[in-house]
């Protein structure tokens, strides 16, 4: 799990806004990743320092051709729809939030958790 830091103007916000910020930040991080991969891919081989950096992750390989970055507006809209369909849930300070327009207060040391839930049944 990679922590994603989101900058907010205020400690008060809505679930809708929080999801939007999180998606934007996630895609920005991906963009950095994509350009780094593109370098390696265009050169066709790895440099010694890239090998050292990859070794720590447990695998050394020439990355596959990087994918195009997704469209941010579309990705945000899809995340909002997914939240409304309960594809994932959001926990803030030990409480599950229900609605997109719900107002939430964020405090330091209380991370927001995004979870994909799985429907369960007795076996």
């Amino acid at each position: 799990m990679r922590d994603v830091l989101v900058e907010l103007a205020d400690d008060r916000t809505t679930v809708r806004e929080l999801i939007r910020k999180a998606v934007e930040e996630q895609i920005r991080l991906l963009g950095v990743d994509v350009s780094r991969r593109r370098d390696m891919h265009d050169r066709q081989y790895l440099l010694a320092e890239e090998i050292q950096a990859q070794a720590a992750s447990g695998v050394i390989r020439l990355p596959a051709a990087p994918l195009a970055l997704p469209d941010i507006t579309e990705a945000v809209a899809r995340a909002h729809r997914a939240f409304e369909r309960n594809v994932f849930v959001v926990f803030v300070a030990g409480r599950q939030v229900d609605r997109l327009d719900e107002e939430i207060v964020l405090r330091p040391g209380e991370p927001v958790v995004f979870l994909r839930l799985t429907a369960l049944a007795g076996g």
């Binding site: 992750s57 994932f88 958790v113 994909r116 369960l120």
Partner: protein
């Protein structure tokens, strides 16, 4: 009468007449007020209907032609047994005949109006929860409604717990369902493997069954029709009875595998001491399916044949699989020539007989018919007089060529059988592995290529173009782009084409069979072997494109190193350790070398910090859901065996002498059917788990590369972007996460989450997801739908990286609000747990 074929008309009419007579009888009994008589008459009618509807009697045409009869019976029984209290389920069920009116009352009681036979499950749940003995008994005895096999067993369990399970109930349960035994002993429906603990009533029911089996099969003639199926009786007496009727196949099948205690087993051995040899042999045959035939070997004078018998059993249960020739020969030596012969008469084994060279003609015939185990056995035959290894090799290549004509699935197993046969032949010929055998043989095949020839102004020959053989035609020193008609029509042309095909075939086998294996294992070639391979045109084209290490440790291309000693194909791990990997990657690009297989750019896997911490288990790919069929194919193509029968590891691959990679998978069924969730990976030595850091790094890297391939190709979850490898174990990750959620009722204790719910306290194991309800029961909760998840890639920092994490977290959240659970099967489990404690 509707739709009755002529041949059954008379029988149906007779049966109907007989049933009408029973209706009249019922009317008489009703008039006399004889309710007990009416109960047994209802039984009689049911029997009559069942027998009359059988295939032999009316071809199943009676059932659809008794509407008027059952209507008449309904009238009689409704009048004599009216429903007095429609809201009391026991009163509704307590009747000898399932009239339409009574069935309708039942249907509305269980909220299933409109079904011809209402399900009894809701009433069963109620009766079990309330421990209502009368209702429990009626649920089994009633002719109304229908209860599933598992429900019936749970009802029997509840009656047993209440001390109220009697013969009448058991008899009725078996009369309704002769396969009830399947749900009793905890054997699965499909393959007979034990899947769960036996029902608590099993002991009592089996006592009943044993008595019944004994009674029904007493002399003179056994009555098999009334004996319920599935169940295996217990006790020596059944085997002795089967021994008394040596030609009764049915008795051999049902009683031969009877369960024996240790004492009974010794008693059987004693019993056989003063019996005829024929009887001893028959006893052995009876006990083969039970798995304890080995104890009878001494009385058969075959004491030394135990290892051989184990091999026979092992080769009989697996599909076509590699056998250890040395082990077979050693076991046969121990059994002695005569002992081996006699044992193989008792339990024949094609493979073992082949290894000993006893069934050559039969095996050759089976190969002709493409029998898979026959092909595998063919490789094990010792060389005949005048036969060379090359002869056998060419014969197997011919067999292999027939594969593609056999259809897509069969083709796969055919190829696998040939591979096993080649491995066997390598053992016979004394090669270290099949690869070396193949290349030794290939070198001999290509030893003498036909030379160039001329027609008119043209020169024709086979040339290699980047390891790819082409037919080259030149005129006055200039290569032509196409083959002129004059050349094509020359009688020598087909030979040249044939040679091209042979070389092309060989190039393909060189790449995938030899070089891929050599690079993947970081294998070594002696100067002799290298020389022989370089004599092959494809070897000459491919081997110089690889990076090698010579005996002094110099790394380079073939022309840069010392070839007088052994040379090792450099695995990328070697290059990485020597800090040469970046250099060689750049060098291969700069020199524009096309490597025949991935070497410098082969993906290299190293231990992660988490794997170092976990010491002997890797969870790097754990939690990925894969398509089981694709995964099984990929794995088997890369040397993994996929097992159906082992509980701990579903796929294994021997990686070095003495070390086997073992992968656990969570399956539905077996690997190859449905989805599977990749689990933990371990490396096993003879009887211990090898710490990851002690696994040879090349072997480790290749195993991880196999698994990465499997999760990326067979994976069913769309990741979009590669997710980072699991940095910490799942338990640690979940523990942190549960802390982050700040749930008031949940605390983390080591690798468990303790949920203080409203109904109970639960302990959820964070690695496996299993749930214990304190103090001592188990709760089974599974994903409602297994397999493909619908989420398209959402760009959010999800805390649950994989499906398993999501499932475990969902369990914790479910139990955290256990007062809101509505799923009846979960509630029933909790209620039972509460009663036990």
């Amino acid at each position: 009468m509707v739709d009755v074929p002529d041949m059954y008309v008379d029988a149906v009419r007779d049966e109907r007449d007989a049933l009408w007579r029973l209706v009249d009888e019922a009317k008489g009994l009703a008039k006399a007020g004889d309710l007990a008589g009416m109960r047994s008459l209802a039984e009689e009618v049911r029997r009559r209907l069942g027998a009359g509807d059988s295939l032999e009697r009316t071809g199943g045409h009676l059932g659809s032609n008794v509407g008027d009869i059952s209507a008449a019976l309904d009238d009689v029984y409704d009048e004599a047994f009216p429903v007095r209290r429609p809201d009391d389920p026991a009163d509704v069920l307590d009747a000898p005949w399932p009239t339409v009116r009574r069935t309708a009352v039942l249907a509305s009681a269980v909220d299933h109006v409109g079904w011809p036979t209402p399900p009894l499950e809701p009433l069963a749940e109620r009766a079990i929860a309330a421990n209502d003995v009368r209702l429990l008994r009626l649920l089994v005895l009633t002719p109304l409604g229908r209860a599933g096999r598992d429900t019936v067993v749970r009802v029997l369990d509840a009656l047993h717990a209440a001390g109220a399970l009697d013969v009448e109930v058991i008899e009725q349960a078996f009369a309704d369902d002769e396969y009830l035994g399947r749900a009793l002993g905890g054997t699965s429906r499909t393959d007979g493997a034990v899947t769960s603990a036996p029902a608590t009533c099993a002991a009592v029911v089996r006592d009943y069954f044993d008595e019944l089996a004994w009674r029904l099969t007493s002399p003179p003639e056994p009555n098999w029709d009334d004996l319920p199926e599935v169940l295996v009786p217990r006790g020596l007496r059944f085997i002795l009875r089967a021994l008394d009727r040596p030609h009764d196949r049915r008795m051999a099948d049902r009683f031969g595998p009877a369960e024996l205690t240790e004492d009974e087993r010794s008693a059987l051995v004693e019993h056989l001491r003063d019996r005829t040899a024929e009887e001893r042999r028959y006893a052995f045959e009876l006990r083969l399916p039970a798995g304890d035939a080995e104890v009878l070997l001494p009385v058969l004078g075959l004491s030394g044949a135990a290892p051989l018998l184990r091999l026979v059993r092992a080769t009989a249960t697996t599909e076509v699989a590699r056998q250890e020739r040395a082990a077979i020969l050693a076991a046969a030596r121990q059994a002695g020539d005569d002992g081996t012969r006699r044992l193989l008469e008792l339990c024949p084994s094609e493979l073992i007989a082949a290894a000993l060279g006893w069934n050559r003609a039969a095996v050759e015939k089976r190969v002709k018919h493409n029998a898979l185990s026959g092909i595998a056995a063919f490789g094990l035959l010792p060389l005949a007089d005048g036969e060379t290894v090359l002869d056998r090799y060419l014969a197997l290549r011919e067999v292999a060529k027939r594969g593609p004509k056999l259809g897509p699935n069969r083709r796969h197993s055919h190829t696998a059988a040939v591979a096993v046969a080649l491995d066997h032949l390598a053992q016979v010929a004394g090669f270290p592995d099949a690869g070396r055998l193949e290349w030794d043989c290939e070198a001999r095949i290509a030893a003498e290529p036909p030379g160039d020839w001329h027609v008119g102004d043209y020169t024709v020959g086979v040339r290699l173009c980047d390891a790819d053989p082409v037919v080259a035609v030149s005129k006055a020193g200039r290569m032509l782009k196409s083959v002129p008609a004059a050349v094509r029509n020359d009688p020598r042309y087909p030979h040249t084409r044939e040679h091209q095909e042979r070389l092309r075939d060989q190039a393909r086998r060189m790449r995938t069979g030899m070089i891929e294996r050599l690079v993947a294992a970081g294998g070594t070639l002696t100067p002799d072997e290298l020389l022989r391979l370089r004599r092959l045109p494809s070897g000459q084209a491919m081997l110089p494109a690889l990076i090698w290490q010579d005996r002094s440790g110099t790394v380079g291309l073939l022309d840069q190193i010392d070839l007088d000693g052994p040379v090792t194909a450099a695995h990328p791990h070697l290059l990485y350790e020597r800090r040469l990997l970046a250099h060689w990657q750049a060098e291969i690009v700069r020199r524009r070398i096309r490597q025949p297989v991935k070497q410098a750019f082969r993906e290299l896997y190293l231990l992660t910090p988490a794997e170092r911490d976990a010491v002997d288990v890797s969870r790097r790919f754990a939690g990925h859901t894969v398509d089981g069929k694709v995964a099984a194919q990929l794995l088997s193509g890369r040397g993994w065996s996929t097992h159906r029968q082992y509980h701990e590891h579903q796929a294994t691959r021997p990686v070095t002498a003495g070390i086997t990679a073992a992968l656990a998978c969570e399956l539905h069924g077996y690997l190859g059917a449905g989805d599977a969730v990749v689990g933990e990976l371990r490396f096993l030595a003879a009887d211990s788990v090898v710490p990851l850091a002690e696994v040879p790094p090349v072997a480790f890297s290749e195993v991880m590369r196999d698994l990465d391939l499997v999760v990326s190709v067979a994976g069913t979850e769309s990741h979009g972007y590669a997710s980072p490898p699991h940095a910490v174990s799942r338990a640690q990750l979940l523990a942190t996460l549960i802390d982050d959620l700040g749930l008031a009722r949940v605390t983390v204790d080591g690798t468990s989450a303790v949920v203080r719910g409203y109904r109970a306290t639960y302990r959820v194991h964070l690695n496996s997801g299993s749930i214990h309800v304190e103090p001592g029961s188990h709760l089974c909760v599974v994903p409602a739908s297994f397999g493909g998840t619908a989420h398209r890639s959402l760009f959010l920092p999800f805390a649950d990286e994989d499906r398993m994490t999501s499932v475990i977290l969902s369990k914790v959240l479910l139990l955290n609000e256990d007062e809101k659970i509505t799923d009846p099967t979960i509630l029933a489990q909790l209620d039972r747990g509460a009663q036990l404690s």
